[in-house]
């Protein structure tokens, strides 16, 4: 401990109490307390500062592109580094479509898994199942991508897509040559990656529903499914929606696995078999090769847009989840 008032070395008093003062005669600890407070406060401020730094970097580095193209940047489709014309619409489209497709596949699966684990599962199986779904969340994106390229895509190309094309081609969604690589592959791998998040939040909010609610419905003579539907899912609606939106946030920002299977062509097509491009992917592929300032700036602007969208989505999701689990996840214990 340092400071203008150093703590005095403790005085050793002989064993008996005769005339003794306190065993430890020490100075105040006011200064060290203040230093400690300042240190941890500055760490807390760092957290705030980080957001500031992120926003600052994104805004300043994208200014060039913003001035050159304005709002139209996000609605034009010409992405041509050579002639320095940049329009980000294909990427926005790709991000939206791949994420929506992922959600459409993931949400029913995730809710199904959550319902099974919370309400239907025999107790001995619960822990193991919960653990394995969490395990899915721990797999790095690049490994998902690796598996997708060499295992999932050939499967899609050889079996799934021809089937889809034959029976559902009339919808216009499954036309064209099945390469395997493309929007459909991206949507599927994203779905697999998003399921753990949606599932674990759904489980959390379902568990938060009080047992009395379930019993009230059962006491009216409901079947188990009816009890789940009216007693649990209904009450946890807001939280489940929050989990879904959180999953959306994750899907929007996902980079590596998508980049590896989406085909990386800035095209807009109705068919899910066609290749596409997402906002995260274009940054990943082209950032380190961007030759001109405008090029780089355009990529940063795409990043800025991605940042803003994910922030908004995540905030909405947090608010929804909090409204059900009620208050701070971290609680004080007395």
């Amino acid at each position: 401990m340092t400071g203008p008032q150093p703590v005095a070395k403790p005085e050793v008093v002989s064993g008996s109490k005769a005339g003794g003062g306190p065993l430890i005669r020490a100075g105040t600890s006011l200064i060290p307390d203040r230093i400690f407070y300042a240190a941890v406060l500055s760490c807390g401020l760092c957290v705030l500062g980080l957001v500031g730094v992120i926003v600052y970097q994104l805004v300043t580095k994208s200014a060039l592109s913003w001035h050159a193209f304005g709002w139209k940047f996000f609605f034009r489709s010409d992405w041509d580094p050579v002639s320095e014309q940049f329009g980000a619409w294909p990427f926005v489209y790709g991000t939206l479509v791949s994420s929506l497709l992922a959600l459409m596949l993931a949400v029913p699966l995730a809710i199904g898994v959550a319902v099974f684990i919370t309400e239907m599962c025999p107790r001995w199986l619960k822990g193991a199942l919960a653990f394995t779904t969490e395990l899915l969340a721990a797999i790095p994106s690049v490994i998902y991508g690796l598996w997708a390229i060499f295992v999932m895509v050939p499967l899609l190309r050889e079996y799934v897509e021809p089937l889809l094309g034959r029976y559902f081609g009339w919808t216009g969604l499954f036309e064209g040559t099945p390469y395997g690589i493309g929007m459909l592959a991206a949507g599927i791998i994203l779905a697999i990656m998003v399921v753990p998040i949606v599932s674990s939040i759904t489980r959390e909010v379902m568990t938060a529903v009080p047992q009395q609610q379930r019993e009230a419905v059962l006491a009216l003579g409901a079947t188990r499914w009816e009890m789940i539907r009216t007693g649990v899912l209904r009450n946890a609606r807001a939280g489940i929606l929050g989990g879904v939106i959180l999953g959306l946030g994750r899907a929007l920002g996902e980079t590596m696995a998508v980049t590896m299977v989406i085909g990386n062509r800035p095209e807009i097509a109705r068919s899910l078999f066609a290749p596409g491009y997402t906002m995260a992917s274009v940054i990943a592929n082209e950032f380190s090769e961007a030759t001109s300032d405008t090029y780089l700036s355009a990529l940063v602007e795409v990043g800025l847009a991605l940042f803003l969208v994910t922030i908004v989505v995540n905030i909405m999701a947090q608010l929804l989840v909090w409204s059900v689990t009620r208050g701070m996840p971290a609680r004080s214990h007395g």
Partner: protein, 252 residues
């Protein structure tokens, strides 16, 4: 040697709610003083004001004068220093769970910068003997954790820990309320012996306990000190009707 505590016009609040009203009391040195009264009468709050633990609760404050010997507890001295000279034993034993028995007893000293190994060994042994725990733990001092002892032993460990820093006053907030009769008996015996060297203030809801261990007793009701006198007098010929009602069991 213990010193006495002189309290003058002590008032205490929790936020806007007043918990203590104008308490004035003279706690004599080297004796045990019991603080009794029904639930919610402010006895714990009173005792926690003596070593400024009251202010660790957010929105809590106190006014008035508390003197320990010539030391003004509230003005001019840091709370941290006060608490090194006024020790406290809590209602539920709270040994440090990650520390061994030895480290628990030595904690007060180590955390205040005192590291002389040999002296620490002596002090730990002496404190554990003072709190009548030495024989039971002397072989497992460093091996067992503080939390692995029984309830009564844990409380005696906490007493040893408080004694190790050699305070002049020891405050005990219902120390036996969570313990079985045998452990309670051991601790009461302890208080009897400690009186010689320390001033003790013990909060208790057990009137028999008060009459067993304390020479003086103060009766609190709804945040006010109703009566303070020799224990014998309080329990045989109390001056105030409210005291009489309480000790005869008419309420509380």
């Amino acid at each position: 040697m213990g010193v006495g505590i002189k309290v003058e016009h002590l008032n205490a609040w929790f936020g806007k709610t007043q918990a203590l009203y104008d308490i004035s009391i003279d706690v004599p040195a080297n004796h045990a003083t019991a603080v009794i009264g029904p639930s919610g009468c402010g006895k714990s709050t009173f005792v926690r004001c003596l070593n400024r633990m009251h202010e660790t609760i957010p929105d809590a404050r106190a006014t008035g004068k508390v003197r320990m010997g010539e030391l003004d507890v509230y003005n001019g001295t840091a709370a941290v220093q006060i608490r090194r000279r006024i020790g406290m034993v809590f209602q539920k034993a709270n040994p440090f769970p990650t520390m061994s028995i030895y480290d628990n007893v030595a904690a007060g000293l180590k955390l205040n910068g005192f590291h002389d190994r040999k002296r620490l060994d002596e002090i730990v042994e002496r404190s554990l003997k003072l709190s009548a725990l030495w024989d039971e733990v002397k072989d497992t001092l460093r091996k067992k954790s503080g939390a692995s002892l029984s309830g009564g032993q844990q409380q005696r460990l906490c007493i040893a820990r408080a004694l190790a820093v050699e305070p002049e006053v020891l405050l005990m907030d219902e120390p036996c309320s969570a313990l079985d009769p045998i452990s309670t008996g051991k601790i009461e015996e302890l208080i009897f012996q400690l009186k010689e060297n320390f001033t003790i203030v013990i909060v208790t809801h057990n009137m028999q306990q008060a009459s067993r261990v304390a020479e003086f007793t103060g009766f609190f009701l709804l945040g006010k000190l109703i009566e303070f006198d020799k224990t014998e007098k309080i329990f045989t010929t109390p001056s105030d009707k409210r005291t009489e009602d309480y000790i005869t069991g008419r309420f509380g």
